[in-house]
């Protein structure tokens, strides 16, 4: 009865339901729904019709739905390359120091902060738009995964001007070679800034990045490397840094040929320790940036790296404590293929343990928010991702907002506490009630009317039969369509992945 009533309300609101529009609705198998829910950011009508994972490369933003493409094209991070952004923001910041009037100087500083925050928000918004609308759903999920494994905190120094590019670089490597990914992160100014390697120089060692490469990005803590290895890697990494404004000083000729300057990335041989190093049981002779390549080769080929990275991927898709029967074939594949990420993912998808895990995972906040928007507005493009950014900040999983380099936790326990669940219900209510700001373009005063279409063909032909009896009973007690939407998005069934 509730359904009929709600259907009537929807029709009255001018939103044409698809239910009953065709004579014989196609039943969607529960298995397709579970499979699609895992390899995408959340089920849509389109996702369940092709539930196999897509290994497509990241699409050009211009090929996304026109309303999405237009939003991304209008962003400053799309119009200007990173080096230009960083240099402009640097110049703007230095200019504030020359302003003598204190009030004007404060205003200029504030404007600079605002511009930096806008650059971060653009990067966050673009990532979310791609997550919701990109056809390469597996790639986009892995893009987030690598952003988290190689986590940087945007609020440090000038990283806000760098994260848009950082995200593009990681995403381009998302299904490629791990070794390539590792080096891409190492050559990125966002990472070098974040973990202080731009301050690491011969005689002035800073071992922060060296430690985290091994502990977090590759081998994993307790996997056999020593404090000495960390110190030696830090020496290898001396001189690897960032240069916004070339200092113009003449280098001696023998240094000149060893120097690298690629965008903002810089290898400055004058700051490098050219002594020999003992690293992971190998002697690395002092030669310049070639030492870094050798060290990365050793790290990427280490069985500890294969094991650690495979386990992280498995945790991301399957949840806490993935079984060795699942991670072992992934790790073996990693070693055999020299870190071919697609091959590692295929090994995971093929494992019976993976199949058995479907619909038993718990969505982290990003999956929760993205899947809710994908489902609620299937086929209708949102005009503003800002509410999604705010929700993620509220739940504590904003992109590039994690202060420490370990990235966000991947297990359910971190995201299912009482306070976390409360916040989810708030978000369910916001989305269920109406457009929630998602259809208010920047500068507009009010939302375009957009009621979420949640009692749709996908619901009746596929989702409804998979719901727990108590969820169905609760939905039947809803008194308004808004409340029905809220309850579905708040249900334990919608938390599963």
């Amino acid at each position: 009865m509730a359904r009929v009533w709600i259907g009537g309300a929807l029709l009255a609101a001018g939103a044409l339901g698809t239910v009953g529009a065709h004579a014989a609705p196609q039943t969607i198998p529960a298995a397709s729904i579970a499979a699609a829910n895992r390899v995408t950011w959340g089920v849509t009508q389109g996702a369940v019709s092709t539930p196999a994972p897509s290994f497509a490369r990241p699409p050009a933003d211009s090929s996304l739905p026109p309303e999405v493409a237009a939003q991304i094209a209008a962003m400053r991070i799309s119009r200007e390359p990173m080096a230009q952004l960083v240099q402009e923001m640097d110049a703007q910041q230095r200019a504030t120091k020359d302003i003598t009037d204190p009030a004007a100087r404060e205003a200029a500083k504030k404007a600079w902060q605002q511009d930096m925050n806008d650059l971060l928000r653009e990067a966050q918004a673009r990532a979310l738009l791609r997550d919701v609308y990109s056809p390469a759903q597996l790639t986009e999920q892995m893009g987030w995964f690598w952003s988290n494994l190689f986590s940087v905190h945007a609020q440090k120094r000038d990283i806000r001007a760098m994260v848009g590019d950082y995200q593009d670089v990681l995403r381009a490597h998302a299904l490629g070679s791990y070794r390539g990914l590792l080096e891409a992160s190492l050559r990125h100014p966002a990472m070098l800034r974040y973990l202080d390697n731009d301050q690491n120089a011969a005689g002035k060692i800073n071992e922060n990045y060296a430690r985290e490469i091994m502990e977090l990005h590759s081998m994993g803590v307790g996997s056999g490397y020593t404090q000495k290895d960390v110190q030696e890697l830090a020496r290898i990494l001396t001189g690897v840094g960032v240069s916004i404004r070339p200092d113009g000083a003449q280098m001696r000729p023998q240094y000149q040929q060893l120097a690298i300057h690629d965008g903002l990335f810089q290898f400055d041989p004058r700051r490098h320790d050219f002594g020999d190093k003992q690293f992971l049981g190998h002697t690395i002779h002092g030669s310049g940036f070639g030492e870094v390549e050798q060290a990365l080769d050793l790290i990427a080929a280490s069985p500890a790296t294969a094991h650690h990275v495979s386990t992280k991927i498995a945790e991301y898709f399957v949840g806490d404590n993935p079984a060795p029967a699942l991670t072992q074939p992934m790790s073996d594949t990693f070693l055999r293929t020299h870190g071919d990420i697609s091959a590692v993912l295929r090994a995971m998808f093929a494992a019976p343990e993976y199949q058995a895990s479907l619909a038993t995972g718990f969505k982290d906040p990003v999956h929760y928010v993205v899947s809710a928007v994908r489902y609620a507005y299937d086929g209708r493009v949102i005009l503003n991702a800002r509410p999604m950014i705010n929700w993620l900040n509220q739940m504590g999983e904003g992109l590039y907002m994690h202060e420490t380099p370990d990235g966000y936790p991947l297990g359910a326990a971190a995201w299912s506490g009482p306070g976390q669940m409360e916040t989810r219900f708030e978000i369910a209510r916001a989305i269920g009630n109406g457009s929630a700001g998602l259809f208010r373009s920047d500068g507009a005063v009010s939302d375009q009317p957009a009621f979420p279409q949640m009692q749709n063909a996908l619901y009746y032909n596929g989702l409804e039969p998979t719901l727990a009896p108590q969820t169905r009973a609760t939905l039947a007690a809803a008194t308004t369509p808004q409340e029905w939407n809220m309850l579905l998005l708040a249900s334990p069934d919608f938390m599963k992945r």
Binding site: Q199, A201, K204, N208, A412, W415, Q470, L487, A490, P492
Partner: protein, 411 residues
Amino acid sequence: MLIINRRNLLAASALLAPSVVVGRAFAAPAAKDSRLLVVFLRGAYDAANIIAPTGNAFYHEARPNIALAHPDPANPDAALPLDADWSLHPALKDSIAPLWAARQIAFVPFAGTDDMSRSHFETQDSIELGQPVAGTRNYQSGFMGRLAGVLEAGRSSPKCMPIAFTQQVPLSCRGGPVIPNIALNAAGKPPLDQRQSELIAAMYKGQNLGGADLGHAVSEGFAVREQVFASINQEMEAAGRGAVSAKGFELAAQRIGHLMRSDYNLAFVDVGGWDTHVNQGGAQGYLANHIGELGRALAGFAAEIGPDAWRDTTVVVISEFGRTFRENGDRGTDHGHGSAYWVLGGGVRGGRIAGPQVALSPQTLNQGRDLPVLTDYRALIGGIVARQYGLSPAQIAHVFPGAAPVDLGLV
């Protein structure tokens, strides 16, 4: 709403119930209205520049750019004397130094874990789990969770009311009764009405997912949200008049004080931003600002909880490890080992540096780079809670397996 009423009822009965002393190993003070707050400084704060061995020439040699100056009343940037060897950071002059003078705070240098990984995350996990460092870890069981379990099972009165003032349930709070979490800087009016809350709670009844007890999490979440909102609302109305509004952790700590006065008595909170590899400053600068904020927050907590409750409250401030004793090339410090923990409260026997010490020299540094650990944090906290709650050796062994408590006579 039903769940909220239950919670309010429990809180009310906690206030009214007479104190009952349960069996205990230490000659402990009666388990009266004891409260415990654990403050975790994530990122490894540079203890050696906050509780600084300014009496030691090696300290000044090892930190040519960032060391604090010898105590000197004429120099506002000089360290504040604690005893012949140790001094306090001057940014704590108006917040922590008065507590020291009132003998309500003790510092325990050379404190930490036997985890030598020097990894923030590994060691934070070690601390929060509170399990022996060697051996398999159970990531679903933290020491605060087990303590809450012991206190609840002991039916000690007043009832144990645990909470984590964090955005996520921390590792330390897992493994016992469901401990609610709430981030205090964003605690607004609950958005759902009672009927909707009940509808949602009904969907989650008995639900488990990925090892998480969602049913309990959801019902606790509704109850706590309602209660915290009511409590904070009351506080804001009471304190609104022209008061300078606190921000950040100072605001959170005030609210914690208010909530721990009557509603909660076992709490965990964390504060980040201590990983000072670069340009950390000395008497002024980044670390000075950050520690100053922490000091004001703790003093604000003490004021807000009120003199009666403060007498029964112990606050323990911990961090995963200390930092290198020598400054690095960037006027910062790198990952080290031994830290210095703080124990404060109205009933704390403070005004002293507690626990074993060693004179610092290049020879006594751990592995030539950082401070050794002479007081294990599990033994320290075990000793404090044993006395504070009158726990038996078996109960302590459950909270901190394999770590005999040490009694430094702090409570």
